[in-house]
Every structure is written in C-alpha cells, then in structure tokens.
Symmetry: D2
Subunit: 328 residues, 4 copies
C-alpha cells in the first residue's frame, strides 16, 4: 500500500485524490496541505488524511511514501526539489515549473541524486489511441515518418485564458505528445494566426503551430480553444509508405431526420478520463519506461516559451536545449 | 473497505481477484476456497486471503462481508442460497444456476428474505456503448422500438463447446441484454440454422435466433463462434422514427497498400474489459438500479432452455415465466 | 446509334427517356406510345419521337431497333412477347409480368426464339457498391458464404401501397440481388411481423424476410417502408473467414453542436441514380453477362408470390421453380 | 447537337473524346488536329471527325461550334485567343497558359469581346463531395470559416516530374478549389519542406503549402506525390461554430484476419472520374455560374508562380493580382 501525500487540494488535486481513493488500488492518501484550509479539510474528511501546515511538511511526513503536487505552478519548483531531496517519487501536474531555468534546476537536482523520481502530468502518453498510433509507427508499417497533422479543439476555455495560455496550457500537450511520438526533440517552432474566431473574445484563436523536429519531420498543429461543437483531438502521421491516424471512437450512431449522427466528446474528461486513470495507476505501480520525466517537463517548457515568442513576433523561433543528463 | 470472500479460484475467479485487488478501490479479498487447493493457494499468496476448506466456510466467515461465486455452475445454487441465508451480498458468475427450477428457488429465497442480495455476471449492462444505446432508446429520439438486429461473433471457442453451449454460454449474453434494453420479457424464441461453417467442427455454427418480446419487438441475433476474423459485437435498434446502433470504436486507422484499415478486437477481454471492471466496481459500491439480479438469472435460464429446445427441433418455442415476486 | 421505342410514358417512362437523351450516348428515342395521349406528346416534344397509337405499333415500327417497356404491369406480358416475336431487344421495367405463369410464358418464348432479348429493370446489379461486394465474395477473400443480413428502408411510400406491395415492389429488389449475389436460387421464404410502426397506417411495416438458398445460405432482410429518417440500404455477408458489407458512402461529415453528422440519402434516386444510368447504358451497349433476364424476372415473381403467401399465413413457404431452359 | 472540335489528341485529348462520344449526350466530335498525325487519325477513326492540319483550322472550321484544347501548355494561349476571336466557347485543359502574363492576355481578350467563352479544366468544382462541402459552408451551418486543412496524395507521379510540377500540376487543383470554396483570392503563400520521402527520388516531397486568403482564412495543404498507398484527397474547414469535411466514401468494408478494411482509390480517375464527366457535361450544356473561367486560370497561374518561388527560397511570397475585369 503506497502512502501518498497531496500538495494542493484545488479542483485538480481533489480529482487526483478521488482517483487515488476510488479508481486505483493499493494506494492510500495519508497527508494533504493547501493554502486554503477548507480545501485541505475536504480532502481530509473524505480520505482520513492528516492536514499539514504546508507542502514541505507533507513531503517530510514519515507516513508519506510518494508525493502528488497540484498546487499553483509558481510553487512547483520548490516542492519538486524538496521531494527529490527527500528521495521520494513525485508526480507533478503540468507545468513542471514556470520557466525553463527552473525546470533545468529540477533536471539537474534529479541527475545529481542519480535516480528518477519525477513524473510530469502529460497524460497523452497513457491514452490507448495514441499508444496504438505509436505502436504502428514504431512497427515500421507506414515507413519512416515525414509529417504529422494534429488538431486540438476545446469547446470553450475558462475566462482566465490569455493569449499565451493557448500555448502553455493547451498546445503543451501536443508538444509533449510529438516529442514522445517521434522520440526526438523539437528544433524550431512557428505560430501562424488565421482569422480569429468571434467566439474567442480578445485572444487569438485558432492558431496553427508548425513544429520542426530534429529528424526533419514537420508537424502542424491547429489549436482551437473556442470551437464550440465539442472536444476533438486529431492526429495523423504521414509515413513514406502509408499513414496512421487516431480513429473516431463512436460508441453509437443514430440515424434520424435525414442524418447519421454520432456524439463528439464534450470535454477532456470524457476523451481522456481513462488516460488520467492509467497515468496515475502506472505511477503508483512504478515508473514506466516512457513516463514523462523531468527532462520532458524541461523540454516542453523551452518549446512553449519559444512558441509564445513566435506568437508575439510571427517569426520562426529556433530552439536550443541544454545538454541532456545521462539519467534521462 | 469491503471484505470479499471468493468461492472458486479457477481462471475466471482469479481474474476477478486481480480486478478486486488491482483495479478496484476500497475492497480487499479476505477468504478463498476451491476444490483445487493449489488454485486457492495462488489467490491466498497474491492477496493474503485465508484459505477455507469449502465455499460454505468462505460464506460463513466472520471477515467476509460479500461473496463472489466463480465455482462450477452445478454448485452455484448451493452457494448463492447460503449467501442469501447469511444475508450477504453475492456476485454470481453466469449462470445463476443450471436449471430454471434452481434459479427460481434462488429468486424465491431472496424474495422471502425481503432484500436484494444477488447479482449475476451479465456485464453488457455495464458497457459504455450499450448504455449509450439504451439512453438514446429511452430518450425517445428514435421513437418506439420495432426491431433489433444483433450479431455476436467470436473468433473461436474452446474445445469443450457442444451445440447447446452456443446458446447457454454465448447467446445468453444477448438474451440478457435484450431483456434489459427493452425492459420487457422474451415471449418466444426460434433458432434457425444457416449453412454450417467448416471452421466449426461438428457444432452448428452460425445460428440465427429470432426473439419475440412482450412488446411485440422482434429481435434477430446472429451467433457465430468460429468467425475467425475477430470478436465483433453488433446491435442496431429500428425505431419508428430512426435507428440507433453500436458504433465502430476504432482507436486508429491505417492507410497502407491500397487500403484503409482499422483493428477488430481479438476477444471479449479487449472489447468488454472495461465493462467487467465497471461491473465489479459498481457491485462493490452497492447495487445499481439496473444490475442483473436473481430474476434476470432466472429469465435468462428459461429463455436459454427454450432456445436449446428450438435448436434441436427447429420449431418456435413459446416462453412462460413464473409470477415475478414483488422484490424484483 | 440505337433507335429506341418507348412503350409507356408515365413517370418512370419519362425518366428513362430523359436518361436515354441526356445521359447516354449513341442512342435516340424514335417512337413512343401511351394510353394517355398527353404523356406521349410530352415525350415526342422533347425528343422528336413519333407518337404511335399503341405499344404494339411502337414495337413494330421500322425505325425502332430496341424497346423499353414502362407501361402498367398488366400489359408487360403482351409487349415483351411482341418484342421477342419481332426479334427486338426489350428492356422491361419490373415486374416482368404479373404472375409466375405469365413470366414463364416469356421465358419459354425467348427460349424458343433461341436468343436472349429480354432485360428486366433490377438495377442493384449495376450499383458500384453491390458490385464491389460481389467481387469480394467471388474472390474467396471471406471464404464460403454462410449468411447475409440485409435492410431496405424507405423514408415513406406512396398512398397506393397495400401489404403485398411491400413484397412485390420493395422486397423484390432484395430478392433479385440475393439470387445474383450468390448465383443460386431461393428455396424457401418466411415472413415475420415485428411490432408495426404507427407511421405505416394499416400496412404491416416493418417485415423480416428469412430466405433460404439452395446452397444453404440463410438471408434475413428487414423491409421498412416508412422509416422516416431516409433511404437506407444495408447488406453484410458472413463468410467462413470474414465478412463483407456495403459501406457508408458519406460525401461529407459535419461536426456541430456536440455531434458528428453525415447525410443519409433521401430516396432511391439519390442512392441508386448512377446505377440506373449504368443499367440503361449497358443495355444500350449490349447485354452484359449478368444482366437480369427473363429467367430472373420469373424467379423473382415466384419468390414474391411465396413471400406474399407467407405474409398472410405466417408460415414458411417452400419454393419450386420450373426447369430452367438452356438459354438462361 | 453541339459540334465540338478537338485540338490535341494525346492521352487527355482522347479521354475527353471518349467522354464526349460515350458518356455525354447531344454532342458530336466533328474536327480534330494534332502535331502527331497518327493520334489525330485515331480520333477520326473512332468518331468520324475530320482531321485538320492544325488547331487554328479546327477552330475556324464551319462545322465546329465549340472547341476543346488539350494540346501542350505552350500552345494554349494561341488557341484560346483564336477561339475567343472566333466567338466560340472553348474548354481549355489546365493550365490556361504557361505564364500569368499570357493568362492575363486571355482574360483581357475575353473581356474585350464582352462575353464569357473560356472554361479551364479545374474539375474539383464538379465533384459531388466538394460541392456538398461548399453547400454546408455557404449555408452558415458551421459559422464563418477560419481555417482549412487539406491533403492531396498521389500514389506516384510520372518520371517527368520536377520540383515545380508538384506545384503547377498537382497543388494547382487545391489552389483553384480554395479560391472557389471561399469565393476570395489568395494573398500570400509559403511552402515548407518536411523530411523528404525516399520514394520521391530527387524531388522534394511532401510539401506543406500555407495559403493566406483575403478574408484572413488560413489554409494548409499537404502535397504528397509518392504516397504509395493510394490516391487520397482530404479537406476540412474549421468554422466558428463547427467543422465540415470531405467524407470517406467507402463502397464496402471487409472484416478479415483481425482487421476492418476498406479500399482507397488507386488514382484520380477512380476518385474524380464522375467529376470529369459532370464537368464536360455541364460545359456542353452551357456555362454554369461557378465554372472556372479565364480569371480563375489567371489567378491560379499567379499563385502557382508564387508557390514555386517560395519552394525555391523558403520565404513567404505575397501575391498581387491585376484588376479584375467586370466580366468576371
């Protein structure tokens, strides 16, 4: 039975707690902290976890074997570094930290410690359809990859969204997925601005990201965050001998009034709910070979920063990463 | 934390134990018995459960709150009746018992006890696609139902399959699904024999079942148990104003060598794995309103018997059920 | 340039005239007759064809090389026999004649003449999707056929529809298709009555036809003639090693308001328009090996009669055909 | 009966002659010319057309009402101008002429003549699926358009292909389609080079074109001309409230050996054959409102030139068109 301490008991933290207590076996939540005492108390009431004064106390607690960090992004660096120092596995919601430099400090601390302790919450890698897509690609069935076309559409986004959130909160999932899918780094990014949707208020939406990879594969990614009609995730890889694409997973089709109709997921919970479950289950069970680690959190941060810059300037932005530690 | 005792530690029993310990929260396996001491020992080793001399001892154990029965069908009646007598919830793998009479004795014992304790392992009701189908039907979107077309195809079946197993082990899932989908009873059944597949050895395969329902809906069900190409489950309901059908849930599509291709599930584990998880999770969480109970086990048994008779004679067989107790 | 005489200038006759003059090359309409002089005059005006006093005069005309018969079914026998006597190819809209006996007289007249002159208007054989389906079946890719599931749904039917029209005007297309698809005869038919749609007025709709073939393949056919939502034609063949089915030919898919939607054809013109064009084009170009001939018209008539009988009695009706002349 | 003169009797010319004589009504081919006397003789033999010494003689012939130009691109300007001078409708295969300047001379000559006589062979506008897509867009069902994603994949291309042919012979179809779909002009183009396929020899393949439209819609177009697996044409429009996409038009689906499979068209003949028929049929019947005219041939030429320049430099190339004459 793994004993987990939870740092941050907001919406996403409570959702992870629900997952840890209702969906995943052999795990118990023993400690919790939040700047909002009421939120921490809610988790304590539903799990029996002890409320601690702050995240560092949770990480230090004797009855905590592993840590889940769901606090505000600004605090991630401190808590993840503390978990590394304590030698405890830590699952950190995205972003790993709020700047490439902070991410790099985590990468280096983990490397200095000499063992992999950090997982970042990029859950695409745990989605059955993406895994099937990668399996086909890796099998060689479609030949060497040349391009990938992606689209990420949200029906709507929260009011707090600013232009850069389209990159750092939304497109970042595609950025991590692309790095994992092709097993290589992104070397340049360009962000193009189509006609803006009047559903999007003041933010530029949709965007088209063009990602260049170290293996010369070119990836274009449409990001729409006010697409209205539903949540829709697409991906098609063009290989030298064929293509592989995410399928339409329609549970049912209805024929009525002159049309054949099937539902589109309403939001990411519906589309990726099972992937979140698998993500945390595999984390509790032990690090998987392709779990997103500190290096992945760092690389995503660098690419996001470059994309935000390109969004502002309209120019192609080349990307340079630090030297990758042996551990990763 | 629900403490579960497991009666029968064969393949299906061990699979349920894995589910109870790896996939479902707030449950622990505390007791186990099997006529094969080695099988029971395996479960004990992986869970810490105590090995009991027989199923009755498991049911009687003080640290057992609820019982899972996975022993041979012939023993189900005895164990389920014992669980009822002990007032403990019991999850019984199909069939509930091996004759309509035995099933009826269970129905009556439960009714006499006055509380619902029995759930039978018909997991279609927990499949997301069937639930979505039923939701559309119940919404009235396609109008009153008139017909349903079903197909159930296995790539292959075990060597022990005899002609009647096509009904009692395979078609019985469709029989339960139809009763649940339309919320009514089956009043007659006819089994037609198409040309037999040479892949099927001596058994008549495929079959076409024609089910008549109390609401005059007509259901045809193709059962193929040596379809070779994969595991394939279909269902389409024709209503007065439209149709609703199970969709193709393709995780990916590959285009290669002149064809667009997507995978077909290999077996029921792949197609219905999540439904088995949900089934047992909801059982542990407490009886759902539409969980398959003792009455459903009885009705399935009566319809199966009639279908076996029709398979032998080629004639339409009318169905009469006992009076339904108030409890159900 | 083939010179065609048209007997019967009603709706279907005028549609064939439009096809002969606007869609098909190397053909001209030179003669026309109709009991309604106005209808004949319309065709004459649009084509320059001469109006003749009756169908026999059209058939006898020196400037008529081939005949299209679109008059009322009761008159078909007389005109087709006259065309055979004149040695002129004749395209006869379904039915070939209104009784098996009349059809058989045509079969025998053509056999006596010793050359194939008759084509009946079963256009499924000219549909690209059915042809692709037959090609897969004949290739052996799915192994020997065991069953076929079909559905034929009309959004609505004309007011003149009586119960038997569901068989003789609608199901007859499926009957011809099945005979052609499997290259064998139907040996028995049974018609089952599901719950009747309240959209269908006094006629029993939908129906389920169960057809037994000489090769033991079993075919079930749903016929719905008031399905409301559109025109929908389905067919799936189960073979020993796989299945082949008509595809969904969606020109476009729209995602809007939570749904993915594609259109369903409104009627048979939309679904089978190109097949009608090909049918008449191939007829003008010369008889194809698998064109539906007099024997096919006769067999369809016999099976339809048996199905109408089964619709009345609810019983399975065995089918016996006359000896097939060498010519066919 | 329209009497057509054909200038150029190569492969495409003979295919149009076949269409004019076998597929389309009310038209006859009366004159033909080709620099290869044998090719002209072939057409004469199959149609009875008179062989003329050159294209100008065909255009001038008294028994020629309308002209089809299928000669080499370098000769198009001369023949199209001659047809305009003769006041005869002319269908010119793409390109209208081999430079923007030459195209503009045609535009101006037609404008001076004051009547529309020129149609260019962009047949996408006659494809049922593209028309359905445009109809949905124009209906407002998906709201104002923001982006379009396209892909054009050929299994292979002829040996003569040079890098610029990917633009001028292949991508030009997408360029015309985009202008027609959105009813606006392309204002800039950028061509990106992904990793090159080893199936493509020395030419850069695939390419990604990014087209900017006057209404700010952004269009990305993948062009692959050695995609091996088949001929595949995609298009999806993202609107403010939904999306509309070309559908998969699968005539059949086969389930076999663990997979669901449907065919991909082998080449453009299979995918667009009916569109070519409709294109020429509508041309014979008279100019349609949205037929591609001289202005469209000019605009396509300008955009193609800019795309070729971008392919060479890697830079975004802005596009400026001449003033559009009133006639267009």
């Amino acid at each position: 039975m793994t004993r987990v301490g939870v740092v941050g008991a907001g919406m996403i933290g409570r959702d992870h707690v629900r997952r840890l207590t209702s969906v995943i076996s052999r795990v118990t939540v023993t400690a919790v902290a939040d700047v909002d005492a009421g939120a921490a108390a809610l988790v304590a009431a539903s799990t029996g976890a002890a409320v601690h004064p702050d995240g560092l106390a949770v990480i230090a607690a004797a009855d905590v074997d592993a840590v889940v960090v769901c606090s505000w992004g600004d605090t991630h660096e401190e808590y993840v570094l503390a978990a590394i120092a304590a030698g405890k596995p830590v699952f950190c919601e995205k972003p790993l930290a709020t700047s490439p430099q902070a991410c790099l400090r985590i990468v280096e601390a983990e490397a200095a410690r000499g063992t992999r302790l950090v997982q970042v919450g990029y859950m695409r890698r745990y989605d059955a359809a993406y895994r099937a897509l990668k399996k086909v690609l890796d099998s060689g069935a479609i030949g060497a990859p040349l391009m990938m076309h992606c689209a990420h559409r949200n029906a709507a986004v929260p009011d707090f969204y600013r232009p850069e959130n389209i990159i750092t909160d939304t497109a970042v999932h595609e950025i991590d997925m692309v790095r994992w899918m092709f097993g290589t780094e992104i070397t340049a990014v360009r962000v193009l601005r189509p006609r803006a949707s009047r559903n999007a208020g003041a933010i530029p939406d949709p965007l088209l990201l063009v990602l260049e990879l170290a293996n010369e594969v070119l990836v274009d990614v449409e990001i729409s965050v006010n697409a209205r009609y539903g949540y829709d995730i697409r991906g098609e890889i063009l290989g030298e001998n064929g293509t592989a694409a995410l399928g339409d997973q329609n549970p049912i089709t209805v024929r009525r009034a002159g049309h054949l109709t099937s539902p589109v997921p309403a939001d990411w919970r519906e589309r990726f709910g099972p992937a979140y479950d698998v993500e945390l289950r595999e984390w509790v069970a032990g690090h998987m070979p392709d779990a997103p680690g500190a290096w992945d959190g760092y690389a995503a941060s660098v690419v996001s920063d470059a994309a935000v810059q390109s969004l502002r300037t309209g120019e192609r932005v080349p990307i340079t990463l630090a030297a990758r530690p042996k551990l990763h």
